[in-house]
Symmetry: C2
DNA sequence: CGTATTGCTACGATAAATGTAGCAATGGAG
DNA sequence: CTCCATTGCTACATTTATCGTAGCAATACG
């Protein structure tokens, strides 16, 4: 087998590419799940924890902070986490996963 | 309120909803990245490792096995990992992330 | 006052990922 | 044949991430 694309700079491995940062952020545990659970309406931190199979608050808090810094999630005035406009937009991009998962269902 | 203690089984699939299993699988480290790097053409395990910023082969092998069992990735005859038809389909569903990430660009 | 929320954190235990090294199998060149 | 490079893949000790439980300060209501 030839060297193919393995020579040095392979596609997408250049540092600073936004999609890589995004894939890294979304690839951390509970990130996708949090966005998914907030897709309809805001949830309090504890309601979100319940929705996420009682995931430990440590990591949930970490993910929420990261997602807030990324501009996808915000903490509302009277409490409760919700998606920002950007977050809703992001959520919409991988919403087809739902239909895909239903067909996948191995 | 359900309190079922998780016991290292399949994470995120306790609800039985396929989308949860899918979010869990894709939420593991390097899963999204692997699919992303394979989006165009197959790569050998080592080329994939190079593309994934020299990620450790241990976890890459683990993810590849999981993605193969899920039916998204396959190992070609003459070597090299590539997406299955299902994998290409999945990859297409979150390909808009690229454009989104470019606009996001915090 | 007591009680019940909220968001959030400490911390030891456990699971996962990293980094380095190396294996057996395959194939091509000499 | 031997030599060597490459393939997919694994061992293992170290580091990092996550879990699970408990609890904090702030707020609100009676």
């Amino acid at each position: 087998m030839a060297k193919q694309a393995a020579s040095g700079k392979v596609r997408g491995s250049r540092t600073g590419r936004p999609v890589m940062a995004l894939l890294d952020l979304l690839g951390r545990r509970w990130s996708l799940r949090i966005l998914w659970e907030l897709r309809d309406a805001p949830l309090t931190s504890r309601a979100l924890r319940t929705a996420c199979d009682e995931a430990s608050p440590t990591v949930l808090q970490a993910r929420l902070t990261e997602l807030r810094e990324a501009g996808f999630v915000e903490l509302g005035e009277g409490g409760g986490y919700g998606l920002t406009a950007l977050g809703r937009e992001l959520c919409a991009t991988f919403m087809p996963l739902h239909r895909f998962a239903e067909r996948w269902k191995k």
